[in-house]
Symmetry: C2
Subunit: 170 residues, 2 copies
Amino acid sequence: MTLSMYQAAIPPLMHSLSNLIGILQKGAAYAEAKKIEPEVLLSSRLFPDMFPLTRQIQITSDVARRGIARLADTEAPSIKDNESTFGELIARLQVTIKYLNDFQPEQIDGSETKSISLPVGQETLTFDGQSFLLYFILPNVYFHVTTAYDILRHCGVELGKRDYLGEPKG
Amino acid sequence: MTLSMYQAAIPPLMHSLSNLIGILQKGAAYAEAKKIEPEVLLSSRLFPDMFPLTRQIQITSDVARRGIARLADTEAPSIKDNESTFGELIARLQVTIKYLNDFQPEQIDGSETKSISLPVGQETLTFDGQSFLLYFILPNVYFHVTTAYDILRHCGVELGKRDYLGEPKG
């Protein structure tokens, strides 16, 4: 079987979001063990004008949900950015995984040449579907998952590459 | 045209390595402007037992080079891990980009079901080619590029998401 848009998008995104849940669970356990208020970790950031952990998770969810919706010519339900606990952020990721899981291959396959316009700040980026997946959705999701990992590592949470990559699939 | 293994692998990796060169150039310029020894940035890390910036770049190059070589059933030339300046790290990435660029689509396409064994620490991971690309090479490269970005951001270098994503391709 040759690679398809669905295969390149949906299972890897679900896998990465699932790994991110595990990373957050280790963060929550660390806060509890060290008697640190979870809010301290959730509001941690690597530099004053970078987004804190909570926002990294919200954006991960948004890029995955909205990105895939665009490939499938539908609109992702919005989610209020009001999470204030590890549990609520994990629940958001679970909702996101379920949303992704509900797509059928035929909704995503064949979207390689679909024209996609994306408002980003003041400008509008245009992609074809394949470029949108390969140069926007995937690197963007991995960016925010990695930065969430980096923030928690920087706070002392014991995480390793395997937490990020997850159990090997294949 | 439907998505191919070559299209999902080579151009996105070259694009990301090229973006990483731009990120390092901003790091080098920052060191010069602030009169910081470049070595201070190159040896920066987010936690004592994480790899410093230099090692993040070396690993990015290794995962991309060796990963693609395995998909193509060849062996990547090794590169000595002896870089000590921004310029040398950028040169390593340039060599890596050239190496990737020399692959022809027919060397990568059709590798979806190729069996790949990867020694990682004490264990051997096994993948098929498609899983190796989607669950190992791509997330791994994006992990180290993002962590390099995060280290420099944490050191105060002014970088934005566009430096990481690069000019949109589409």
